[in-house]
Symmetry: C2
Subunit: 425 residues, 2 copies
C-alpha cells in the first residue's frame, strides 16, 4: 500500500516519544517528559465567564464562519502585546491567528520550503519544529551556537556557503530543549546577518514571558527593519494550550501567501475560542497572571535543580535556566539516555532522551526534563529515582566488559530506533 502515499510520507517515522507520553497518562508515572503547563495556572473561571458572555451577546457570530486572518479584537490586543512585551511595533494587519504555533510552523514550512532546501537551526532544537518542517523535506543545517545564542559569524559563513538556504529557525528565549536564552547583542546581530543575506528568520517565541530572573530581552522581531523576521507567538504557555490559539507576525512580503495557505489549510481558526480569548484578555490582569505562573515555575525549577544537585553523580551536568519549562541534562558521554529510559519507566519516571532534538544525530547522552507540570514533592521523588537509575547505569558502564556490551547494545538500538519523533509538545 505504501505507493499510495506521497514521497514525503516515507520520511515520517513512528515516534518513540509518543510511546513515552502514552505511558505517562498513567497517573502513577512522574512525568518530566512532556512540555505541559501547570493546569493550576489556567484561568478556568475567567474563561467560563468569558465564554458565557460571548455566547450571550454574540452567539450567532461566535458559532459562524469568520475571516481567515482572525478575530479583529484579538489581533488588536496582540499588536499592543507585541509592542509592550516584545518591543516590536506591529499593526493588527500583520497578525494572523493560527491553531497553536505548531500550525505556524506548518504554514511557514509550506510557504518557504521545497524538497532539499536548507533550514539553518540551533542544535539541539525543538523536535516539534523538526517534525513540522520535515514534511516539506528540507535539509537541516546546524548553526554554531554558544550559551549566548547563534554565533553571527558562523551564521554569516553558513548563509554564504549553503545552497538554497531558505530559513533560519531560532528559539531565542529559554530554548526548547536547552533552556538557553540569547543575549541582546546576538539577537541584533543575527537579524542583521540574516537580513543582509535576504534569508527569513522564523522566531519561535513560546516562552518569552516565562522569565524568573534577569531582565526581559527584546524579541528578534524588535530588531527587524527589513521584513526579515517571521515571529511566532502562542497563548499555550500564558493562557491555555487547549484553546489552540497562537499567532504569526508576518512581514509584508509574506502576508498574502500566508493568508492563502491558512485558508487552504483550514479556512480559519475557531471563531468561538478566538472570541473567548479576546473577551477574557480584555478584562484580565495579565501582569498578575504572568507573575503567578513565573513564581510557580521558578519554585519548581528550584526544586528540580536542588534535587539534581543532591541526587545526581558529580559527573552529570545540567542547566539552571532563567525561564521556560525545561532543564537540559548531560550525562557522562559513556551513557545513552535512550538506554536509561526503560529503567526509568520501570520506576514510573519519564523523560525525553535528547537525541531526538538533534536534526542530524548526536546528543545520545543528553536528556530533557520538564519541571512545569509536576508538584514539588513529585519532582523531588522523580529526581531521586532518576538518580538511582543513573548511578546504576554508571556502575554497569564501568564494570569489566561493559564497553563491548555497550557497543553491541548501541548497534542494536540504532537498528531498532524508529527515527525522529513526533511528540505532542
Amino acid at each position: 500500500m505504501t505507493n499510495r502515499f506521497a514521497r514525503r510520507v516515507a520520511d515520517l517515522k513512528a515516534s518513540e516519544i509518543r510511546e513515552i507520553l502514552k505511558l505517562t497518562q498513567n497517573p502513577e508515572v512522574i512525568s518530566f517528559a512532556g512540555g505541559l503547563p501547570a493546569p493550576e495556572t489556567f484561568p478556568v473561571a475567567a474563561v467560563a465567564d468569558a465564554a458565557a458572555r460571548v455566547l450571550a451577546s454574540h452567539g450567532a457570530v461566535a458559532l459562524q464562519y469568520a475571516t481567515t486572518e482572525g478575530h479583529r479584537p484579538l489581533r488588536e490586543w496582540l499588536a499592543r502585546f507585541m509592542t509592550q512585551r516584545r518591543g516590536a511595533w506591529v499593526s493588527p494587519d500583520e497578525i494572523l491567528i493560527t491553531n497553536g504555533s505548531q500550525q505556524g510552523l506548518d504554514l511557514v514550512g509550506k510557504a518557504l520550503l521545497d524538497e532539499g532546501d536548507a533550514v539553518l537551526c540551533e542544535s539541539p532544537t525543538y523536535v516539534g519544529a523538526l517534525n513540522a518542517l520535515q514534511v516539506f523535506q528540507p535539509r537541516f543545517v546546524p548553526v554554531p551556537t554558544d550559551d549566548d545564542g547563534m554565533l553571527p559569524e558562523g551564521l554569516d559563513r553558513l548563509l554564504g556557503e549553503t545552497e538554497r538556504a531558505k530559513m533560519v529557525y531560532a528559539i531565542p528565549d529559554f530554548q526548547n530543549p536547552s533552556g538557553r536564552c540569547w543575549s541582546r547583542e546576538r539577537r541584533e546581530r543575527v537579524v542583521a546577518v540574516a537580513a543582509r543575506h535576504g534569508v527569513p528568520v522564523v522566531e519561535d517565541a513560546p516562552y518569552s514571558e516565562l522569565r524568573f530572573a534577569g531582565e526581559p530581552l527584546p524579541s528578534l522581531k524588535s530588531f527587524d527593519q527589513r521584513g526579515t523576521v517571521i515571529h511566532l507567538g502562542t497563548f499555550s504557555k500564558i493562557l491555555s494550550p487547549g484553546l489552540r490559539l497562537a499567532w504569526i507576525v508576518a512581514p509584508g512580503w509574506f502576508a498574502k501567501p500566508l493568508n492563502i495557505l491558512k485558508s487552504s489549510a483550514d479556512l480559519h481558526t475557531s471563531t468561538f475560542t478566538q472570541m473567548v480569548a479576546a473577551e477574557h484578555l480584555a478584562g484580565a490582569d495579565l501582569d498578575t497572571h504572568l507573575a503567578r505562573i513565573r513564581e510557580l515555575y521558578r519554585q519548581r525549577r528550584d526544586v528540580m535543580v536542588q534535587a539534581l544537585e543532591r541526587e545526581m553523580p558529580a559527573e552529570v551536568r545540567f542547566t539552571r535556566p532563567e525561564g521556560g519549562l525545561f532543564l537540559w541534562v548531560e550525562l557522562p558521554a559513556r551513557l545513552d539516555a535512550r538506554e536509561l529510559l526503560p529503567c526509568a519507566l520501570a520506576r514510573n519516571v519519564a523523560f525525553v532522551p535528547g537525541g531526538s532534538f538533534w536534526a542530524r544525530g548526536g546528543g545520545d547522552h543528553t536528556l530533557r526534563l520538564n519541571y512545569s507540570n509536576m508538584p514539588p514533592e513529585r519532582i523531588e521523588e522523580g529526581v531521586r529515582r532518576l538518580g538511582e537509575v543513573v548511578r546504576e547505569a554508571l556502575a554497569n558502564a564501568d564494570s569489566p566488559g561493559a564497553a563491548s556490551a555497550r557497543a553491541a547494545r548501541r548497534v542494536a538500538a540504532a537498528a531498532a530506533r524508529s527515527g525522529r519523533a513526533v511528540p505532542p509538545v
Copy 2:
C-alpha cells in the same frame, strides 16, 4: 522576493471570490455567495450550557494539551453517528478529529499527493477542495458525470489510462456547487471500481443530513469493504462552523501517517471545543435539531426556486436540489457570469460565478446561489434584482455588434483573471 517562496506558492493566486465575500460583509448586500449556514439554527444556549458544564467539571483538562486523534467521547459519539446515519460500521479508533473538513482535505492531500499526481474529480467540484489540494500541485482529471453521479465506466477507463492516479475526490450528497445527489447504485459501483484499481476515494460529506425530500442514501463509506474510502464529515452544517470541528474516518493503512501529519500540522484540535461539542451532543435531540434545519432550508430553497421561476428568462436553467445549501444556475451560453457580477454587486446582490468550480476551465455561463443564509424576503428581493441583471445582459448580448464586443471583453477578462479562487466556504 518571490524566490524566497517554495514553488507551490507560485500557483496560489489571489482570489476573486474573497473579494466578493469582503463586499458581502456590508449588511445591505443580499449575499447568495458564501456557503454559510443560517445562524438561527445554531444551538447557542445549549452550547453555552455545555461550555459552562465542561469548564466547571473538567476545566483543567479542557484547557490542557490533548491527544492528536481527538477527544475519545466525541469519537465514540461519531462512531455511532456513522453507523446510524451513514450506514458505515466504524470504530472510534478509525476516527481523527480535524479543524473543519478543510483541514481534512489538507491532510489528505499532504499524505497522498506528489507534484504531478492525478486527482480524479467531478466537474464542477468544490473550489475549496481544489484550493486545498492545489497546494500539493496535482493534475485534476474530470470524471464523466451525469445527474446520478460519476459514471463507473468512465471512472474505470480513466483509472486505467491515467498515470499516477492517486485519489478520487467526490461529494456524493448534494454536491457543492451543483446540488447533485448520487444514486445508490452509482455509489456502490464507484467504490467497487476504485477498489479494483487500488485508488483511494476521498468522500467529502458535509451536507448528508440536509435532505428535504426523498430517502437518505448510504455513504460511499458504507460500501467500502477494502479500505478504499477516506470519509470526511463535519459539524459545520449540523451544529456550528465556528467551532471548526470535523472528522476523518481513516482506513487502517491510512491511520498512522494521518495521525503523524495531523500532529505535525497542529498537534491536535482544540480540547475545549471538542469537549463542548461532546457534552452538548450527549444531551442533544439531534433528530429534532436536524428536522428544524431541514425545514428552514427547504422553505428557503422553495422561495428561491419560485423566485427564479418568476424572475428569470425562460432560457435560464437551474437545479431544484433535494438537499444541501446551493442552487446551480446555467445562463444562456452567450452570457458570462463573471461579467454579470459587477452589475449584480451594483444592485447589492452577490453570487459566485461558476467558473471557479471547474478545475480545468469552462462553465463561464454558470453560477452558484446559496439559499441557506438569507431570510425569504431577501431571497425574493435578491432574485428579483438578479433577474433584472440577467435580462439586461441578454438585451445587451443580443444587440447588434454585441458578439464582437463580447469576444473582446472575454479576452480581456481572461488576461486579467487572477486564477483559481480561495473562498471561505
